[in-house]
């Protein structure tokens, strides 16, 4: 390797080693040791505990549903934007990027106003006489899902948009000139070619939902997900052993999901 390159890369690498790699390695290591002995007890204790399993299950369920809804809402919108005129495309892209750059605290808080007991939805439903008592939406897994879909929808839209922009429209035109209906051309060409993008966008949403803290903390109430449970163990209960185990479980799940889905996306990629 070029000596000059080493000198330029070294400060950054040392920084990441000292302040990311070492702390994480030590945390992972600490979960296998108890009273000076090597053991899996930390993990066994967790998976034997019904409470943690429920939290893990809630988290996975919320993340899966969030990802599916984001795909369902994001794909058609991205497709529409990719086919729009340059001017419209620019405006819609800007409108997608703006929420992405806006603080997650602001975005989750806006849903507290809408979903709360005296929130927009409940006061509408009560005032119109559709229901007598306000519904409990806020502080449920459903509220978390709504907040997370709102948080990650722009991400999947702009990811898909990137893929759709790179799509070779000559292929679609060729299919059309050979007699394919617009829908057939979409189904046989556009969709298969953009599926890898849908998967990549899906990974981003899924991993993001799995590890999000702000939105579940604000919209979930007492309902816990793994990230808020990690925080609770570390900061409220001061059980750092437990927090470390949760941290490692989160890292493992993230890496496994990213690895598997990346492999899947690559296999589907016709250019790959």
């Amino acid at each position: 390797m070029n000596k000059r390159a080493i000198y330029l890369l070294l400060p950054g690498l040392l920084f990441l080693a000292a302040f990311m790699l070492v702390p994480i390695t030590l945390t992972v290591g600490s979960t296998f040791v108890q009273d000076g002995k090597l053991t899996l007890e930390g993990y066994l204790h967790f998976f034997r505990d019904g409470y943690f399993n429920r939290i893990l299950l809630t988290t996975l369920r919320v993340s899966v549903v969030t990802t599916l809804i984001c795909m369902l809402l994001g794909y058609p919108a991205a497709y529409y934007i990719s086919r729009a005129s340059a001017r419209k495309k620019g405006i819609l892209l800007a409108l997608s990027i703006f929420p992405l750059l806006t603080s997650p605290v602001v975005r989750s808080f806006s849903w507290m106003i809408i979903l709360g007991k005296k929130g927009l939805i409940n006061s509408f439903l009560v005032n119109t006489g559709l229901i007598d008592k306000p519904l409990d939406i806020l502080y449920t897994p459903a509220a978390m899902m709504i907040g997370l879909v709102h948080l990650f929808l722009p991400l999947i839209i702009i990811t898909l948009l990137g893929v759709m922009e790179n799509l070779d429209h000559e292929l679609v035109r060729a299919a059309r000139s050979l007699g394919a209906s617009p829908f057939a051309a979409f189904r046989k060409i556009t969709f298969p070619l953009t599926v890898p993008g849908l998967i990549i966008g899906g990974i981003l949403v899924f991993v993001g939902s799995l590890t999000a803290y702000t939105t579940p903390a604000l919209l979930g109430g007492k309902e816990r997900v793994v990230s808020t449970f990690l925080y609770q163990n570390a900061m409220t209960l001061n059980d750092w052993q437990a927090a470390s185990v949760i941290a490692v479980i989160m890292i493992v799940i993230t890496f496994v999901v990213v690895g598997l889905m990346n492999a899947w996306a690559n296999r589907l990629n016709p250019k790959g």
Partner: protein, 262 residues
Amino acid sequence: MKEGNRALSLYTVLVFIFLLGPLVIISITSFEPGTVLKFPPEGFSLKWYQNIFEVSAFMETFKTSMIISLLGNLLALLLGVPAAYALSRYRFRGRDTLNAIFLSPVLIPGIVLGFTLLRYLIVVYGLPIVAGLLIGHTVIMLPFIIRVIASSLENFDFAVEEAAQSLGASRLQTFFKVVLPNIRSGILAAILIAFLESFNNVDISVFMTGPGISTLPIQMLTYVQNYFDPTIAAISVILMVLTAALMFVIERLMGFAYFTKR
């Protein structure tokens, strides 16, 4: 096809109403004169905007957030610009791996990173909380700095650099007089994107608070969990205006192409 187009455009409109509606609602409620957030508001008042400046915790944490984000940004630039340059300029074995390592902080869940930094930096190494806050923010800004700058270096022709050197410029001179001016807008955009990422961060900061030390998002989070008055709505509006302004500058500097690239 026309029918399909109409349905699709209606669907897209609904998606954008879902995306932007809550932000519009939060903005409108910030003008509520009463003490409880309501939609629609029962009048028009700017008193909650005034309240932001009267609650000293908001001003204090805003200052901390600014200082941490700006200092962290500077640190991330000092570490990231040379790295981005080396990764774009030189071809060597293991380059892809190194690239992945530099971008890896985005792969580690923020909440995990925050916890490990608290546990080791603060408790084991004994660093002060502010240092932990600064380091954590630098770690999460680094990938953004490197990615944006590397992508603007992609458009830079390194032959120009060789030309300057053959005319007698030193490596350092070449870098500061030829390379840097050419990627200036990329660097500015990187600074702004990293700044927003750091300024809005909760996952790391939530572990790095102590007596007198907190950041604005954490202060907002704590406030929301205790009070439900329109102050946070007012702060939200100010933050959104700032975000929109920075976004406008980013667009001017390099367009939005960066965002759609993965």
